[in-house]
């Protein structure tokens, strides 16, 4: 199984192509089995992963265009490993949750999802800038199709907006990537797009600044950072449940992952220099979108905006420049994936039943659908960061780590635990508490076996990783510490060296 990563990437592709000839009736079963195999493969990847090592593992290297140093180069470390596993898991759960009666043309849906899975895995394991960019852009296509084909009334507008927005950003990113390759060529007269080679590149602070900015735009559009976030509510509002789930759980993480994988190690000085800007944007993002979420009438929009708010927390964690914050932010990526995925699934369930997502149409659902309400409640508590759920670990670590950077900003960002609970609890109160206001809701059925199968694993993970995050946190922490040590070593300016706290120094101080 040396080529496990290639298998992980290309198995869904192959299965997707084969999916075209699968019988319509059995498309969902086919999708579930493929996704399950893929998920098991990714688990196998975890078990054979050396958790004590912080290095890249399972490296595969195959030159494609030698003249320009473009190669098929994939590997995982602690940072990407779990995001890959999360992608395969969310895809599996998403396919399980698909309702045969509500989705016409199931076969196309399954095929799109499998293609999407390929691109997602590809993005997170690529170590070659061109291959990374390729998967990054390819991931837009199936999602565009999913929103455009199965979405709500203004799906085309939403899909095009989503596409153009992220595409515009990633083009600028591409320019940045090419510029790095060119600068590398200038320095060493070798063309290469290998990220690990790029890490050795020593750039002047000024150059770093501009390149950081170029990549920042590409990643920030995807995250989405304020003020580039407006495509997200549209996309979520129109996307089918499965689309929202994958969009929120995995696709948004590409942006923050990009920051960790590219911006930080390539431009340590610029990253430190840009911390104030990122702080300001992130805090606006956290507070402002949380307040916008409170004003929403539509359940799904609340969760969509809350996604943006939580991505803000992840962003400040990335720029905390210490092991606590960065590990926390990567953990928060996972936890946000699980929680927002589950919440979108839950909203999708009620939407399937009633055909509406407006909160005022509900009320008193807790007495009609107790199991549904319970699972929703668990996810809600995880979302507001209750200890012993997965949401707390990440949020706590991020805020803890960020406190070292700026106490005042941490307090401002920390208000998310207050306003987060405000909009979430008011959503819960409006929809689940009180009397049953809408008589037609009285006959609603509680969760069926299919939905429970999709949701229970998420609940289990949310609780398990809340109580015992160590198996995941430790590999992440190893890789993060290596990253920070490299950054500190590479940093040119004394300010940057001071801001980046790798673990070594933290211990020396003691």
């Amino acid at each position: 199984m040396e080529h496990i990563l290639s298998i992980l990437i290309f198995f869904p592709l192959l299965a997707g192509i084969l999916g075209f000839i699968v019988d319509k009736e059995s498309a969902r079963a086919y999708g579930i089995s493929v996704a399950a195999i893929e998920f098991l493969l990714s688990l196998w990847l975890w078990f054979s992963f050396d958790t004590n090592s912080a290095d890249m593992q399972f490296t595969e290297f195959l030159p494609i265009i030698k003249e320009f140093g473009i190669s098929y180069n994939v590997a995982v470390d602690g940072i990407s490993l779990f995001i890959v596993i999360m992608s395969t898991m969310i895809t599996l759960i998403g396919i399980i949750s698909l309702n045969e009666e509500k989705i016409d043309n199931m076969k196309n849906m399954i095929v799109s999802l499998l293609f999407l899975e390929m691109t997602m895995v590809g993005v997170f394991v690529s170590l070659d800038a061109i291959i990374f960019y390729l998967f990054w852009e390819l991931s837009l296509v199936p999602m565009l199709y999913i929103i455009g084909a199965w979405g709500g009334p203004t799906r085309v507008y939403a899909a095009v907006k989503f596409f153009l927005y992220t595409f515009a950003g990633s083009l600028i990113m591409l320019v940045g990537l090419l510029a790095i390759a060119y600068l590398y060529h200038l320095e060493t007269s070798v063309w290469t797009f290998n990220l690990l080679d790029w890490y050795q590149l020593d750039l002047s602070v000024n150059l770093q600044f501009w390149l950081f900015l170029a990549l920042f735009i590409g990643f920030a559009f995807k995250v989405p950072m304020f003020p580039f976030h407006t495509w997200l509510p549209h996309a979520h509002g129109q996307a089918p449940t499965i689309g929202s789930v994958i969009l929120a759980a995995v696709l948004l993480k590409m942006g923050t992952y990009g920051f960790v994988r590219f911006s930080l190690p390539l431009f340590p000085d610029a990253s430190v220099q840009m911390i104030p800007m990122v702080i300001v944007l992130s805090i606006i993002m956290i507070v402002y979108t949380a307040m916008v979420a409170f004003a929403q009438k539509d359940m799904k929009q609340v969760i969509a905006y809350s996604s943006v708010s939580h991505m803000g927390i992840i962003m400040i964690g990335v720029f905390a420049m210490n092991a606590e914050g960065l590990s926390g932010s990567i953990f928060q990526m996972l936890s946000h994936g699980m929680i927002s995925g589950a919440l979108f699934l839950l909203v999708g369930i009620i939407y399937e039943r009633t055909g509406t997502k407006t909160m005022s149409k509900f009320g008193g659902l807790a007495s009609i659908m107790p199991v549904y309400a319970t699972i929703f409640g668990v996810m809600l508590m995880a979302s507001v960061g209750l200890p012993l759920t997965i949401g707390f670990v990440g949020e706590f670590l991020v805020l803890l780590g960020f406190y070292e950077v700026s106490p005042i900003a941490t307090v401002l960002a920390g208000t998310s635990i207050i306003i987060g609970s405000i909009y979430m609890l008011s959503l819960f109160k409006k929809s689940f508490f009180g009397e049953v206001t809408n008589e037609s809701n009285r006959g609603l059925k509680d969760l069926n076996a299919r939905e429970i199968t999709a949701l229970l694993p998420l609940v289990a993970i949310v609780v398990w990783l809340g109580i015992y995050p160590k198996p995941i946190l430790k590999p992440i922490d190893n890789s993060v510490q290596k990253l920070l040590t490299d950054m500190e070593y590479k940093a040119r300016t004394p300010e940057a060296k001071k801001s980046i706290i790798s673990i070594k120094r933290a211990k020396e101080e003691k």
């Binding site: 307040m291 803890l400 207050i418 993060v480």
Partner: protein, 636 residues
């Protein structure tokens, strides 16, 4: 002994899972009603055994497993059973056991009987984590855990709909639950900041490491930590200005009010200050400590004043809880940590008893809470009358009941510290306390039987419930007698606090003064509210329309202020932000798209199909290119 620690901690958890997982959807099941109290009782047994162990052999420290470790941060699930935590454990499990048994009777007819027990046991578990944890993060787990359980339990009757504040000041159980949770979260942010400060300055969150390191820190940081932690304590213990949730929390079932909002959870803030006594007794933070004492005194008086006029049985007790929490903070802030803890324990017993008695009354009166609709209940509810009388006497601080010893010690402390303003406020509040608690008792149990006019048919609570309450009644009477042995026990961990000779000298008249205030309060209450016949209590319209009455009745207009100046603006700003999001941020993007579309539209005219005009355009382009190259040549 480790096993005992785990038994004490996890027995409630097992109970919660038992009721939650196996009986969540089934109707009332008596097995739950037996097993859950039994498990809590086991936890109590373990706690008592641990208490004896600790008294003899000292603290026990166990580490179960790692929780979070990242960077230099390592947080284990570690538990410490020392003098302070074991006191809390015993208090918590004692009250919990009684409340669990009591709930069997109180929730008898509720269709969510099993769910209630599941939540209640989960609360006990969280509270045990809170008191037993050996680090600040673990404390925070329990801190948030009790918050959630409180949210679940306040909103237990979630199906009730919202009403206007005129009918019910708390609007609805779910509203009150959210209010409580959000208020607590505000304070939790302060607490988190405290934790961050500790971590970045000490490098660990373990109590022992932190407390050892504290004296080496800068003064400014110490003050910041002290303030941040106290903000956390203010939320949980409902200190001004975060106090409004506590009275609204009375929407929850009465056993919940007894357990959570009187005896245990709200005292977590006091517990935190006691736990962090090495911090608060440092000279550098003496100002913060004094502020804690002053705020405590203020809240003691402030809450008591609101209790004077309230007509709602449970709210009066809630205000008295607030007021007593103020006493505890006053003691802790003045450095008398063991006295604060002693009052905490004694208060837990008699306040829980008071609430459970109130629950009996509610049960008898079909959930009616207005004490003006009661009166003369002592005939039908003799047992409850007795219990509530004892509890109120204890609360008023009459000897030889528990409250006398603990409260008197606090007042003496205030005198001893020379803070005479605080001292006098506390003495005066003691008088108020006696008045309002006996106003409530007399209005409920004595005087004319007004309830008949409203068609109530009160009846006494089940006998086994009354029996189950007896431990609390006994403790409310005798707890104070163990002051000296408790002092000896707790002083091993907490700093000693000794009265000066001067105070000793004056102790007898100080005590008498307090007693005088208390007794006069009771007498006034009796004269005003307990008569019959012609002299029976009449509502005084003139007084009720007076300024002070209205001010107190509306809780100094603080809830209204919050609604008007925080809730409404927040909602308005949120709506505005949403509008901005659509009209500015999103519209900007759409505008860019529109501009591109428009330029496309308008430049389409060029594409008119006429070859000649194409050639013209090409010509213009060619000339421009040539010009550009010419300029480049000239420049270059």
């Amino acid at each position: 002994m480790e096993k005992l620690v785990y038994i004490a901690l996890f027995a409630p958890f097992v109970g919660s899972l038992f009721a939650g997982l196996f009986f969540a959807r089934s109707p009332k099941n008596i097995i739950v009603g037996v097993v859950n109290p039994a498990l809590i009782f086991i936890s109590w047994l373990a706690s008592v055994a641990l208490a004896f162990h600790v008294a003899e052999h000292g603290a026990i420290h166990v580490t179960m497993m790692d929780w979070i470790s990242a960077g230099a941060l390592h947080i284990p699930f570690g538990f410490v059973v020392d003098e302070v935590s074991v006191t809390m454990m015993v208090v918590v499990t004692t009250v919990s056991t009684v409340v669990h048994i009591y709930s069997n009777g109180y929730m008898d007819h509720d269709k969510s009987f099993n769910r209630f027990f599941s939540y209640l046991s989960a609360f006990v578990f969280s509270m045990m984590i809170l008191v037993m944890s050996d680090n600040f993060a673990g404390l925070f787990i329990g801190w948030e855990g009790v918050g959630v359980c409180s949210w679940l339990l306040i909103g237990f009757w979630y199906h009730k709909k919202d009403v206007t504040p005129d009918i019910n000041p708390a609007i609805s159980p779910s509203y009150a639950a959210n209010e409580a949770f959000i208020m607590n979260r505000i304070a939790d942010l302060g607490m988190l900041v405290g934790i961050f400060l500790i971590y970045w300055n000490v490098g660990s969150l373990q109590y022992d490491v932190v407390f050892k390191e504290l004296p080496h820190l800068e003064d400014g940081i110490l003050v910041a930590i002290a303030i941040a932690l106290f903000i956390g304590a203010m939320g949980k213990s409902a200190q001004f200005p975060l106090h409004t949730w506590l009275t609204d929390a009375m929407e929850g079932p009465t056993p919940v009010s007894a357990l959570i909002h009187a005896a245990t959870m709200v005292t977590a803030g006091v517990f935190l200050v006691i736990r962090a006594n090495p911090l608060y007794s440092l000279d550098a933070v003496s100002d913060v400590s004094y502020f804690i004492a002053a705020l405590g005194t203020f809240v003691a008086f402030f809450a008591a004043s609101m209790a004077l006029v309230n007509r709602d049985l449970k709210r009066i007790i809630a205000y008295s809880t607030l007021s007593q929490l103020g006493y505890m903070f006053a003691a802790a802030g003045l450095g008398a940590y063991w006295i604060a803890l002693f009052h905490l324990a004694a208060h837990a017993f008699f306040k829980a008893l008071l609430f459970l008695g109130a629950g009996n009354v509610m049960h008898a009166m079909d959930d009616e809470l207005d004490i003006f609709k009661m009166g003369g209940l002592k005939k039908v509810m003799r047992g409850t009358y007795l219990y509530m009388g004892i509890a109120s006497l204890a609360l008023a601080g009459l000897p030889p009941l528990a409250g006398y010893f603990s409260k008197d010690a606090i007042i003496e402390t205030a005198f001893n510290e020379g803070t005479y303003v605080l001292w006098f406020a506390l003495v005066f509040t003691a008088g108020l306390t006696a008045f309002y608690s006996f106003r409530q008792v007399f209005l409920t149990f004595d005087g004319e039987e007004r309830y008949k006019r409203f068609g109530f048919h009160p009846h006494e609570m089940y006998r086994y419930v009354l029996v189950a309450m007896s431990p609390l009644a006994i403790l409310a009477i005798i707890a104070g007698w163990f002051q000296d042995s408790f002092h000896e026990f707790i002083i091993k961990l907490l700093p000693e606090y000794e009265m000066s000779h001067h105070t000793h000298h004056n102790a007898w008249w100080l005590g008498l003064l307090v007693l005088f205030f208390a007794v006069s309060g009771i007498i006034i209450a009796y004269k005003k509210y307990a008569r019959k016949g012609d002299k029976a209590f009449k509502q005084d319209k003139k007084v009720e329309s007076g300024f002070f009455y209205k001010l107190l009745m509306n809780q100094y207009y603080i809830p209204a202020f919050y609604v008007e100046f925080i809730v409404k603006p927040y909602t308005a700003i949120s709506d505005k932000f949403w509008a901005i999001d659509k009209a500015v941020v999103d519209a900007t993007v759409d505008f860019i798209a529109k501009v591109i579309y428009k330029t496309g539209d308008s430049s389409r005219v060029i594409q008119n199909g006429n070859l000649s005009s194409y050639l013209n355009w090409m010509g213009i382009g060619a000339v421009l290119l040539i010009l550009a190259s010419a300029i480049a040549v000239v420049m270059g």
